[in-house]
């Protein structure tokens, strides 16, 4: 355990009835870092957050805050504060009283409270909103009040439970930048929960990818994107073509009927593996020069690039390119060694990475479902 660890989670497990929501989670959270729990709905990320905040008790394991076990401490005695998904601003109190709420619980002097509220309001760009009614604020403004309210009590750790989910796209992008700035300026630990991979990658120092109550991978956004540990992570973060392959030898991978040079080693000879290739990492060459060839089955213009679905030996790839190839044309394909990422087989192998049934609509539908949860 490093000196700058602020929260240590040791073997946390939690069941709701028969359903295992968290399965033996261990994790260190460093002081002043921006850490994100990322995963689909039902992966246990919110449960984890609620256990740290004290709204839920773990069935097993310990929550250690600066060396002390706080598992039995009620929420109001913990030095962590939460920004809730639906803000949970008190409707019967105005902006000032909402922000002052935590300060009053500490029996601060009214003069100090007023100064602190003022300071917080300027931090979130809401100067002069003291006397406003909560109901009269827009979603973005309510969000800012919620942030000010939680930060007013000077928490060591701020927990954020999908705080941007209720905002529209434009506002969400602005708030991402603003939250990151606030975190840097105040130098406190942010523990962020989201199902939006773009949000996680752009804001975090550390990303914890979760699924099925287990941690799938911990790392920096770059690590997670470039070196996914298994098919789940590869599929969940960005777009990936995930293929069945065999490691013939060190630096030599065989998939799609051809042998490719790669940078991975240390596998057994002829070990079955999962191969990840990002859509933007595929080079298109004339058919006769290609290591493999494929048939373009669909092509959609996306603004910066074209997004094609290409049939290569009955496996549908997604390939992004700046040049246009009409549907029905044959193309040659070349892949650089550093674009090939080799992963050990896991329970997720074969579940993801094929674009045969891909369509934009399905993506949107699953997004909507997640928001309803």
């Amino acid at each position: 355990m490093g000196d700058n660890t602020i929260i240590e989670l040791k073997h946390i497990s939690k069941k709701f009835g028969d359903e295992v929501v968290l399965d033996d989670i261990s994790l260190n959270i460093k002081d002043k870092e921006f850490i994100t729990f990322l995963g689909p709905s039902g992966c246990g990320k919110t449960t984890m957050l609620r256990i740290i905040a004290g709204f839920l008790e773990a069935d097993d394991g310990q929550v250690i805050f600066e060396g002390k076990d706080i598992g039995n401490l009620p929420p109001h005695k913990r030095q962590v504060n939460t920004i809730f998904q639906r803000y949970q601003l008190f409707p019967h109190l105005n902006v000032y009283e909402n922000i002052a709420f935590g300060l009053r619980n500490r029996r601060m002097k009214e003069k100090d409270i007023a100064a602190k509220v003022e300071e917080m309001l300027s931090l979130v760009n809401l100067k002069g909103f003291q006397r406003r009614d909560i109901a009269s604020l827009s979603g973005g403004q309510q969000q800012r009040v919620a942030i000010a309210r939680a930060l007013a009590v000077d928490p060591r750790v701020l927990l954020l439970d999908e705080p941007l989910a209720a905002l529209d796209l434009k506002l969400r992008k602005d708030m991402q930048v603003e939250l990151k700035n606030i975190q840097k300026r105040l130098g406190i630990t942010f523990v962020f929960v989201t199902h939006d991979q773009q949000e996680a990658l752009s804001m975090s120092d550390t990303v914890v990818v979760m699924d099925g109550g287990k941690i799938q991978q911990i790392g920096t956004p770059l690590d997670i994107y470039n070196e996914p540990k298994n098919a789940f992570v590869a599929d969940f973060i960005g777009e990936s073509n995930i293929l069945d392959g065999v490691m013939l030898d060190d630096f030599k991978a065989k998939f799609s009927g051809a042998v490719f040079q790669c940078l991975d080693k240390g596998f057994a000879v002829n070990e079955s593996v999962d191969i990840v290739i990002r859509p933007e990492d595929v080079d298109i060459v004339p058919v006769e020069k290609g290591e493999i060839t494929g048939l373009v089955t669909s092509n959609t213009f996306k603004g910066i690039h074209f997004e094609m679905i290409v049939d290569i030996q009955n496996f549908k790839w997604m390939i992004q390119t700046t040049d246009y190839y009409p549907v029905g044309s044959r193309i040659g394909i070349e892949i650089e060694p550093d674009a090939i990422h080799v992963m050990k087989k896991s329970a997720y192998s074969g579940m993801f990475g094929d674009y045969s049934s891909f369509s934009d609509e399905i993506e949107h539908l699953s997004d909507i479902e997640e928001e309803e949860d």
Partner: protein, 275 residues
Amino acid sequence: MTKNTALKKVISAPYLVWAALFIIVPLIFVVYYSLVDAGGSFSLEYIKSIGRYKDIMLNSIWLGFVATIICLVIAYPLAYIMARSTKNVQRTMMMLVMLPMWMNLLIRTYSLMILLQDTGILNSVFTFLHLPVRHMINTRAAVVLGMVYNYIPYMILPLYSIMVKIDYGLVEAAQDLGASRFSVLRKIILPLTAPGIASGFTMVFVPSVSTFYISKKLGGSTFSLIGDIIEMQFKSANNYNLGAALSLILMVLILLCMAIMNRFTGDDDDGGVLI
């Protein structure tokens, strides 16, 4: 479009006439009767004679108030427990609370009387347990008990219906900001349930203060509330003028109490939470 709205206005005409005839006019009659003497000429005789009933009046308000507060104290935790329990428990509890309410008030009061009588069930139980027999019927306590027993569902229901609507996340948010259990109750739950308290208070206080059957059956002949006096003027003494004057005062007093009550709980403009 204009024709349509004109039609909509005409459609409420029968009700407006009805309301004028059977809500407003009767109240004018109450005022009229209390301001004339038996012969029909103007006189303040009856309004002035109210002074004689001052004690009964205050006693009625006091007992009604005590009963209402007892209802509130008992019903508040119950409503909270109900609101926080599972859907099935909520449904069953709602039914159990409403069932006695749908029984006639007279039957409920009478069955309570059977329990409390000197030779009643409770005293039989006391005797069986070798406890001294207690005189319970025909006391102030019995009357208050009767009010509480009859009207407590009217306190539970508005409190419950406002409490189920409170987002429990607000409680968590308050705890998160360092509020103890007690300050969550004082700063979050109480203010948010204030409209429910106000309507529960009204729904229990008004019938308690103006009751006559409960006091008759449980208070005995020596004991009168303002309702008993009014009832007597119309049903046996045939002194309509005095009865009207007493009713007028009762109405004004209740309005005053309500105004004070609303000052404490803040307005709710929809006229209260009705079930």
